[in-house]
């Protein structure tokens, strides 16, 4: 009869206890956050192992982590995003783009606040001032009701309409603001330039991440007709959903008013008829505008 490899695991758990001790002694007290922060440390170890192995085909996120992992189903191997859930991906990107002097994180079109809750639970920046801008009264009410379950969450919920953007809720100019949207612009057929220029005026430096289904708006030859994008476009047009996010951002980028840093097309396919692309833009460096 074989023996359980207790020696190996005694060592593993002792090593992991050290990692957990560092997280807890850093002031973390919420079990969900502690587990997710630990997972991120482990993911980094996987990344560095892949790097050592010289895996040249590994797609990388802008913050240097691999974007995909290889899994299997039945007898077939397939590659899927590293963070298989949307919330994990969203939290990872926002955490990476959060800076030490970021005044607040603002979600525009926050619905019932789910992305902001998950940002917290998945080990996102904390403490952090969070704003949830939402057009519907029912969405704002539900966000407040759920946020009340956790006293550690610092979320201010405010009315916000993409078609008449008003950022006065921020109460004056800040140093750095991290904005994001997730499948919220999708439902505004045409966004005004003022949505982007309004964000630019809120702080000395602005970073904005769009997790939105704009992949079909980039028509790059045969790839566009690969199946997903063509169907996606039909669906978006039939529903009267957004068709100018890419055009507005790329035009303002050309004019030097923003700088588009990253574009990833159809990178999150939780809904294959409406897959998510990611765009990160920032205000231009001073003197470069």
């Amino acid at each position: 009869m074989g023996e359980a490899p207790t020696g190996y695991y005694e060592e593993t758990w002792a090593q992991w206890a050290g990692l957990f001790d560092a997280i807890i002694s850093g002031g973390e007290t919420d079990l969900r956050r502690v587990l997710h922060i630990f997972d991120r440390v482990c993911d980094r170890e996987v990344d560095s192992r892949l790097e050592r192995q010289g895996r040249e085909d590994a797609a990388l996120a802008p913050f240097g982590e691999v974007l995909e992992k290889t899994v299997s189903l039945g007898e077939a191997a397939l590659r899927v995003p590293l963070q298989t859930g949307f919330h994990g991906t969203l939290a990872r990107w926002l955490s990476a783009l959060h800076e030490p002097d970021t005044d607040c994180i603002v979600e525009l079109g926050c619905g019932y606040g789910r992305n902001l809750f998950e940002l917290y639970y998945q080990g996102g920046p904390h403490p952090a001032k969070l704003f949830g801008g939402e057009i519907t009264e029912s969405g704002r009410a539900l966000t407040r009701k759920l946020a009340d379950l956790n006293g550690d969450l610092d979320i201010t919920v405010v009315p916000f309409d993409f078609r008449g953007p008003d950022f006065s809720f921020l109460g004056g100019r800040k140093k750095h603001i991290l904005f994001f949207t997730r499948h919220a612009i999708e439902q505004v057929d045409l966004i005004p330039d003022e949505l982007v220029t309004g964000m630019l005026e809120t702080a000395d430096r602005v970073t904005c991440v769009h997790f939105e289904p704009f992949g079909f708006q980039f028509k790059n030859g045969a790839d566009h007709h690969g199946g997903i994008s063509a169907r996606h476009e039909q669906n978006a047009l039939a529903r009267g959903w957004n068709r100018n996010l890419a055009e507005v951002c790329m035009r303002l980028n050309t004019e030097g008013r923003i700088k588009v840093h990253y574009l990833y097309k159809n990178i999150i396919g939780e809904d294959p008829i409406n897959p998510t692309s990611i765009m990160v833009w920032k205000s231009p460096e001073r003197g470069n505008a």
Binding site: P5, A76, N266
Partner: protein, 293 residues
């Protein structure tokens, strides 16, 4: 259109679901969110599957779609319904939990992660849980982490697969116990029959789920394994990991000691070198599964 009429209605429906969960006594936000997701996920996949695959949706024993349909770039893929291993374990253990069970026991619990996730993912609560673990460091770490969440009722105990001792369950006869293992039997080259007969003797009714890499053990001359199974067998053999889980459970099933209910081969491939299969067996006086949560 800003879509606000649609979303006023949508968030109103969403609020009704949350109100129902909160009215049931839930106060932990991560659990509340996951309980909401569980209601929505299956419904959404059935719609997507019908759009893209246009056939029968493969279902789990508890009546949910087995997979979900996603895309990456311009291609369609099928993944397990729940996005990661911990969520899958939580969903299956929750589905086989029956109201009134005495406790949930994980054997080979490591640092307790599966039991923590079972709670945080909206699993049965309140319920008594046991974490059996052979290593002292694993038990210590499990104890330290569970202290962060006072609502958790987990007792951490020593447990060695090669010398199974279930006395930690106490002297009082138990009626109904749910056991599970996740990639822990894998590291025991040959598990003894006593492991299973010990579980069977622990209560009047026992349900056990194994989330273990035994897919290659299902291969035969009649039904040889594919590329993944062949690689798995080589890997497991080289590591001297478990080679007799399937054989032992089948023998006990033939002898009537337990009833093998379900076997799903290579359905969780987080590690393609050693993907996970799921086995469910029951034993005891109640043979039918009854209502599943």
């Amino acid at each position: 259109m800003a879509g606000n009429d649609y979303y006023e209605s949508e968030w109103g429906r969403t609020r009704e679901i949350f109100d129902g969960i909160l009215a049931g006594g839930e106060t932990c936000l991560p659990r509340v969110l996951k309980l909401h997701d569980r209601r929505r996920l299956a419904e959404d996949e059935i719609k997507v599957h019908r759009n893209f695959v246009r056939g029968e949706v493969p279902m789990t024993p508890f009546g949910e779609p087995f997979q979900r349909t996603v895309s990456m770039g311009e291609a369609i893929h099928h993944l397990p319904l729940h996005a990661d291993f911990l969520a899958i374990v939580s969903r299956w253990v929750s589905a086989f939990y029956e109201p009134g069970m005495d406790c949930i026991v994980e054997l080979g619990a490591g640092y307790g992660r599966n039991l923590f996730e079972l709670y945080l993912n909206g699993g049965p609560h309140p319920v008594r849980m046991f974490a059996g673990e052979v290593t002292e460091n694993g038990r210590t770490l499990a104890g330290r982490l569970k202290a962060l969440e006072p609502a958790l009722d987990i007792t951490v105990v020593p447990f060695d697969y090669t010398r199974p001792d279930f006395s930690f369950l106490g002297d009082k006869p138990l009626k109904n116990v749910l056991f599970f293992t996740r990639h822990s039997i894998e590291q025991v080259e040959r598990v003894p029959r006593d492991l299973f007969t010990g579980m069977v003797a622990a209560a009047e009714k026992v349900t056990c789920l194994h989330f273990e890499p035994f897919g290659f053990q299902l291969s035969s001359r009649v039904a040889p394994g594919g590329a993944i199974s062949v690689e798995q067998e080589k890997f497991i053999s080289r590591m001297h990991w478990n080679a007799n889980l399937v054989e032992t459970v089948r023998e006990l099933d033939e002898e009537g000691v337990l009833t093998l209910r379900h076997t799903f081969k290579n359905v969780i491939g987080e590690d393609p070198v050693s993907p996970t299969s799921i086995m469910v067996w029951t034993a005891g006086k109640t043979e039918e599964q009854g209502d599943r949560k």
